[in-house]
Symmetry: C2
Subunit: 366 residues, 2 copies
């Protein structure tokens, strides 16, 4: 039985560990605080189409392919908070509507299924949407998942498949220039032959091959809860452009809403700021005025693992035995099934079926 | 040695318990969660003048008298986070300035020390004040205290004076129609001969004589923290009127700020709402724009104990052995020294030196 050491218990690390254990690997996951990082803070959108930006067609293809695998992944995993109500996108001002028109045209050219709606049509779908919204899109194929329910399900499934958890931080992957020999934990090398780096924004410092390839992109979110007497929450994910700023509201069970997300590059900083919360509240209320009466239960910040081209880094880039699956940016939940499949392929020595070009690992550091 | 049972370990209960124990009483304080209620959430202003509203002259006199006793109270207590930098009041729009003019004129007629300032003069005192502020007042005599440091100091002082703490909730004060016989705890009567009700907003249900006299008035606050690179915080308490809404910002040590406070009457509800946080952030940023870069560390709500005439209820209103010190509204921290003195007087059988007219206890229920 071959041994796999996984560094990082976010959605990517847990998904890969679970699938590898089921495929017969003896898996140990090292993380000082499993499921507490950016996966814990995430909105949980499984939304490749409404996340698509012109110029990121490869990422869109990856997302669409991973979303195709999501129902099977969820069926395998058991209850994990998957929501299939779909997504709407709302635009407020004239500039926002123009930008949405451009996105819709771009998606149509790519053959993606989006429907233009008037403000009235949007409100017929989601009565919580307010009068400042003048138009938008319906994208029924873009889904969502309760990130915390998913993390709990993955931890249970991983443990049930025999994955071992060690609550320690890894400082570095150690190799002899040819192949991996271990991981450094509290200054002591713990032997390992196959190591998978899934440490999100913290991946960059774990091995020289990742140096400069992954940077933290801070995102602040709010968690709201419906209160008796307040307007009912939307059923679909509601994304919006408000005076040029993107905002999203993802429903949870029992009237919960996750509002996100700011995007700032301030290093390893997870403090929630006044300006971030002010923007999220203002923009979300503009789209869904009824949330004024909701409870504000939590404000939190996470660090997305950003890459130079916004695509994830999945591959076997350096010494033998070193695997990497990180840099998923805003799309960790979405890309988990595809990433786990790709890592399984790498463990079997197959060329990855996905965008796992190992030359990208050299592209930036060179 | 006579025995005193105190119901409620907020600032009033702790102050009275400490002083009574020092005066020779054997004191037991019952509270399921000491120092966790509205005293924990409070802004900590000791500000009778800038809290004054026309028609509340008696409350102003009480506050001024209690503030006069504060330095001695603090010296007795030891370090408790008293801040003596004073208070400024800022006005934004024309309506706000007119209202501030009226308040200043009212205070001048009462002989209180307030100084009118232009926006520029205010900014000279507190450079953090932004350009939307067009004028205001300086009230150097209105002070502040770190509510949490004060609570910690009171708990230490009370314990050092021999006060016993029992972490249980009292359901009612029990009497035989003539005099108090005990307090009801988990359905069992715990014998007591002298009982002091200092349960804040929860006081109303503890004895029929308080029925309808104390109601919860919810207040939401935010706690901010300065971040490196952000504009330095003000040194004084900054109060403001922003489009008619009052807001205050009270400095803490090490760059902390408490922003408060909303005022809503929704029963025993301590949930923080989206609308409340939005208002506090918007109004505080309008006055102190630099806080946009501060960390938002905490949002919380407390329940002020409101009375029909906004004055506290301090007295011996019913059966022998029943004492009451509650209904301090927004002014619990400010009125603690005066209240503790008044309760000591009541324990000695003296007529209270303060506004403790026992007929007010009957005034509303009759």
């Amino acid at each position: 039985m071959q041994e796999l050491t996984v560094i990082g218990a976010g959605v990517i690390g847990l998904s890969c560990a679970w699938r590898a254990a089921r495929a017969g690997w003896r898996v140990t996951v090292l993380d000082p605080a499993p499921a507490s990082g950016s996966s814990w803070v995430a909105g949980g959108m499984l939304a490749p189409v409404t996340e698509a930006w012109p110029g990121e067609e490869q990422l869109l293809d990856l997302g669409v392919e991973s979303l195709r695998r999501w129902p099977g992944f969820a069926a395998d995993l058991g209850p994990c908070g998957l929501r299939t109500e779909g997504t709407v996108v709302a635009a407020t001002g004239a500039g926002d509507r123009a930008e949405l028109d451009a996105v819709a045209a771009h998606l149509s050219r790519l053959g993606r299924d989006v429907e233009r709606l008037s403000g009235r049509e949007l409100r017929r779908l989601e009565p919580a949407i307010g009068p400042d919204v003048r138009g938008g899109l319906s994208v029924p194929g873009d889904l969502a998942v309760d990130n915390r329910e998913l993390l709990a399900a993955l931890r249970r499934a991983a443990a049930a498949s025999g994955v071992g958890f060690v609550a320690r931080a890894v400082q570095a992957v150690v190799d002899d220039g040819q192949r991996v020999s271990g991981v450094l934990v509290d200054g002591v090398v713990r032997p390992a032959t196959t190591v998978l780096v899934t440490a999100g924004a913290h991946s960059g410092s774990l091995h020289p091959v990742l140096d400069g390839l992954v940077r933290p992109v801070k995102g602040e979110i709010l968690r709201l809860a419906h209160r008796p007497g307040a307007f009912p929450p939307p059923r679909r994910t509601v994304r919006a452009l408000v005076d040029g700023r993107p905002v999203y509201v993802v429903p949870r069970d029992a009237g919960g809403l996750v509002v996100g997300a700011t995007q700032t590059e301030t290093g390893f900083d997870t403090e929630v700021t006044v300006g971030g919360v002010r923007d999220l509240l203002r923009d979300a209320e503009r789209v869904l005025p009824g949330i004024a009466e909701y409870a504000l239960r939590e404000a939190a910040a996470g660090l997305r693992p950003g890459t130079p081209d916004n695509r994830p880094l999945i591959g076997a880039p350096g010494p033998a035995g070193l695997l990497v699956a990180t840099g998923h940016g805003r799309n960790g939940m979405l890309l988990a099934p595809l990433t786990a499949d790709a890592v399984l392929g790498l463990l079997r020595g197959e060329p990855g079926p996905v965008d796992a070009d190992p030359t990208r690992f050299q592209g930036v550091t060179a």
